[in-house]
Symmetry: C2
Amino acid sequence: MKNPPSLDSLIAALKVLPGVGPKSAQRMAFHLLQRDKAGAERLARALDRALTNLTHCERCNTFSETPVCNLCADASRRQDLLCVVEMPADLLMLEQAHCHDGLYFVLMGRISPLDGVGPRDVALEKLFHRALDGVVEEVIVATNFTAEGEATAHVVTELLKNRGLKLTRIARGMPVGGELEYVDPGTLAQAMFERRKL
Amino acid sequence: MKNPPSLDSLIAALKVLPGVGPKSAQRMAFHLLQRDKAGAERLARALDRALTNLTHCERCNTFSETPVCNLCADASRRQDLLCVVEMPADLLMLEQAHCHDGLYFVLMGRISPLDGVGPRDVALEKLFHRALDGVVEEVIVATNFTAEGEATAHVVTELLKNRGLKLTRIARGMPVGGELEYVDPGTLAQAMFERRKL
């Protein structure tokens, strides 16, 4: 006794999603087929549409439906300031914070040897050409403060140093609203170490 | 600054999957588009194929590509024994255990008022007609031993009692290989309460 082939194929196909194992894939397939056929149809169409329409912005490498994304095409942004982030989600967070009026470069990943992601799997060569276009003066490295993000920041720094660019890293320290009593010791130590003059 | 529309549609569509919120949906979309386009294509095709091909078996209500599933069409199985389970996964587990040579009925759900799933959302009416076909003599209620599964078992029992059928429930007790020291108190209490004569 086995599942019908088209059910087994769907369960197998759902396992491509990150964090989805055999049991979740089965649960998802049953849910879609039993409780939300319209949602399943919508998902199939959204996958097709995204695969057809989305490409990477020529300049910043983020997902875009046009060769150059809206943000890169916006002449009102500072052209001399380039902020390097790991993923489009990071770019969106920085935009929500209204703290950067320059442009971005999205690596589309982080270097993570444990997951088999090396320097070739993030867009370092594209970044190299983008940063050395002669207009950019400062590159702000805004990768995460995780082990992978720090490794990525290191590789980006090595790639671009001694090329006449100002290289900076976003600050580590106490979060806004953070209380010393409750913050983790590593953050507190960094905040102390990177204290600045008043 | 926003995501391109086809990316936002894909993220929204992925949220139909159970247990997937906005953050996971975004992570899944990035993964599919960045690291596994072939997988995304496969998923879209598998969804289409499953939506087109799968229907419910006329007799046992499980997913099937034919009007009557292979198991129900198997004349070598005992026709007088009907085992009621919640989901196709339960049926597969029972088949793997080689402990039942009769037929099944799959409710395709459990009664769960908290999730808005009432008696009308599981296939009780279809079960009623199936169980009272004049051939079935014993109905084995094999829903889960969760609150929802027990509620479902109760409703199934109420539905079919006093109809000349023998109604049974699979046993609760210690798992095979279980040690008293490590089993949960509820299971131990049930195992004691439902002890049987040697």
